[in-house]
């Protein structure tokens, strides 16, 4: 039974280390978080990425390696969590409001006894696995009902010790309002190029790249140069940050006169439904886009 408990630690540790590495890499903390805040500001992010790299390497070795290399990985993991316990104790004294940063920005709850106990438990788990003749992969392939029972108990204990389990659903339920959300330009352009309104106007657009892009709360405006009926026009798209599929609007404006000559998508002003001329409403058929010639 003792050996089963020791063996179960290998896949558990490997998965947790991998999740921690992904969390540190993908979910950047919005402020200085975790023991990294004990370091100078300029080295915090590189140090966090380096830690993630070490965690990922240990995760791979815990799964793949046995013998002396496997024992080295287990000893390294135990040392890593041991250092984490000391760093968290120091962090808690110095800045009680800081999150542990264990899973990057997801670990924003102030460091408490649960987080410290979790690191201590994982250090003990890694130390317990020292000397096992098998690799994590071998344990996973030969998983028995006893292993599963031990795993269930251990996951329950780790769940109690993990404040992140509250943070993740909260983040899913409450997204940052679109007016405040930082969105990369590349994502906005992807949404635009996938829209029906873009396909309707792609032939009018003559510039490969946007001439100007600007933001107004939930909308990004993307302006292209174009030609329509032998006249130079500005083609402007309003791309929302939210919505699936996004309701993109477009406006074609004569460059010389400044007069809008056509608008596509949801009309903002008092709606004046009007039948579009033949040939100008290349509709997708799935979602008819309101069309208006001004």
């Amino acid at each position: 039974m003792i050996d089963v408990i020791r063996e179960t630690q290998l896949p558990v540790l490997a998965v947790l280390l991998l999740l921690a590495a992904v969390g540190k890499t993908a979910v950047r903390p919005s402020g200085a978080e975790g023991p990294m805040s004990l370091l100078p500001a300029r080295v915090r992010r590189p140090a966090a990425l380096a830690t993630a790299g070490v965690e990922a390497a240990f995760a791979v070795l815990l799964v793949a390696a046995a013998g002396p290399l496997g024992d080295a990985a287990r000893a390294g993991t135990a040392a890593l969590f041991g250092v984490a316990v000391l760093a968290l104790l120091r962090l808690r004294r110095r800045d009680p409001e800081q999150g542990c940063g264990c899973f990057g920005g997801l670990s924003s709850t102030p460091v408490g006894w649960r987080t410290i106990a979790r690191a201590g438990l994982l250090a003990a788990a890694a130390a317990a696995a020292l000397g096992l003749p098998v690799s994590g992969l071998a344990v996973a392939t030969g998983f028995t009902a006893t292993h599963a029972a031990v795993l269930a108990v251990e996951l329950a204990v780790l769940g109690v010790l993990s404040p992140e389990l509250v943070e993740i659903p909260r983040r899913v339920r409450h997204r940052v309002p679109c007016e405040l959300r930082e969105v990369p330009l590349s994502r906005t352009l992807r949404r635009l190029y996938a829209s029906d309104v873009w396909h309707m106007n792609a032939e009018v657009v003559t510039t490969a790249e946007p001439v100007d892009v600007w933001r107004q709360e939930c909308l990004r405006f993307v302006r292209f140069g174009g030609r329509r009926q032998d006249r130079a026009v500005d083609v402007v798209f309003a791309v929302p940050m939210d919505g699936r599929p996004p309701v993109v609007r477009a406006l074609i404006v004569d460059v010389e006169t400044g007069v809008p000559v056509a608008s596509f998508g949801a009309v903002a002003d008092p709606p004046r439904p009007r039948r579009a001329p033949e040939g100008e409403t290349a509709d997708s058929g799935r979602r008819p886009a309101p069309y208006e010639v001004v």
């Binding site: 919005s30 990369p184 405006f221 008092p270």
Partner: protein, 320 residues
């Protein structure tokens, strides 16, 4: 990518229709009663100054007040000084209050040598050298106890030989460096009106104010410009303490001075990355809003009823 502000406004209005941002009200020009220029001559009853419109003369009333680092008499002012005049509400040619050589430095302390500070005022502005004279060091020490690199600094003073003499601290400095500014708590619901603090800056840095168009510019630097586009690749702004919507250069804000009730529509003309790090509360009048929501140009600030030597007023911002 060139910024054509007029085209942005025109196209935004055409696309959004009724949802478009407000247009400025010509009848409520915020800087109607504010004049800036270089002092040419001053006597007991009147002054003349060079302004972008040419030479203009103003007369004094018994209630006229003068400021040059502190309340002064007209005899303390000298030709050649940069002056800002706020006219009497009933008569544009009567001076209600005059400020001379007004300066402000807002940002992060980059260097310190004895009583001289070099302050980083944002990625798109030059660093400013400020000295704290002995007579101001006491009150400066109360509200800015850490004059060390990495800490915030915000003070009003006067220009002297190309440097700012920092005389009046206009905020209470946080006791942590900018690298440890806490993250904004999660915002679960967006509100179209945001209460907070409006401050001011001088885009002309007090230079050639009679010919420099920046000296009389109307508008506001905004601390929540869209990062990737308008703030630029060197953008050093922090997520603002107040829940401000992301906007671009050319957007329009309706700002109300909560202390006087005066409001105006002002365009966003620059990035206010330095103010994005402040999460202070203005004590000009009763208001709970925390964080800086706009950094008005000097003339817009005075035009909206602000006192530059106080540094701020409580404001409510509405977008769209």
């Amino acid at each position: 990518m060139a910024v054509d502000v007029q085209a942005r406004r025109r196209l935004t209005a055409a696309l959004l229709g009724r949802e478009a941002p407000p247009e400025p009200d010509a009848a409520a020009d915020p800087v109607e009663r504010v004049t800036r220029g270089v002092l040419l001559d001053i006597g007991p009853h009147m002054l003349s100054m060079a302004t972008p419109k040419g030479e203009e003369r103003f007369v004094f009333a018994d209630s006229t007040t003068f400021w040059h680092g502190r309340e002064v008499c007209h005899t303390d002012l000298r030709p050649g000084q940069d002056v800002v005049v706020r006219s009497h509400p009933a008569n544009r040619w009567v001076v209600e209050r005059l400020w001379a050589d007004l300066a402000r430095v807002t940002g992060v302390i980059a260097e310190r040598t004895e009583d001289t500070l070099v302050v980083d005022t944002g990625h798109d502005r030059p660093r400013v050298t400020a000295t704290v004279p002995y007579r101001a060091s006491g009150r400066m020490g109360v509200r800015h106890p850490r004059l060390e690199p990495g800490y915030l600094f915000d003070a009003v003073g006067i220009w002297r030989d190309g440097e700012v003499q920092a005389l009046i601290p206009v905020t209470s400095q946080p006791d942590y460096p900018v690298s440890r500014i806490p993250a904004r708590p999660p915002v679960e619901r967006y509100r179209e009106t945001v209460s907070g603090t409006a401050t001011w800056y001088d885009p002309a840095l007090g230079k050639n104010t009679h010919v420099n168009p920046l000296a009389t510019a109307v508008g506001a630097a905004y601390p929540a410009l869209d990062g990737e586009l308008d703030c630029g690749p060197d953008c050093d702004r922090h997520t603002t303490c107040a829940a401000l919507p992301l906007l671009s250069i050319g957007a329009r804000l309706r700002l109300r001075n909560d202390c006087t009730g005066r409001s105006a529509v002002v365009p966003v003309t620059a990035c206010a990355s330095a103010t994005s790090r402040f999460c202070d509360r203005c004590r000009a009048c009763a208001s709970e809003g925390r964080g800086r929501i706009a950094q008005l140009t000097l003339l817009s600030f005075i035009g909206l009823g602000g006192s530059p030597e106080a540094g701020c007023f409580n404001a409510t911002l509405t977008v769209g």
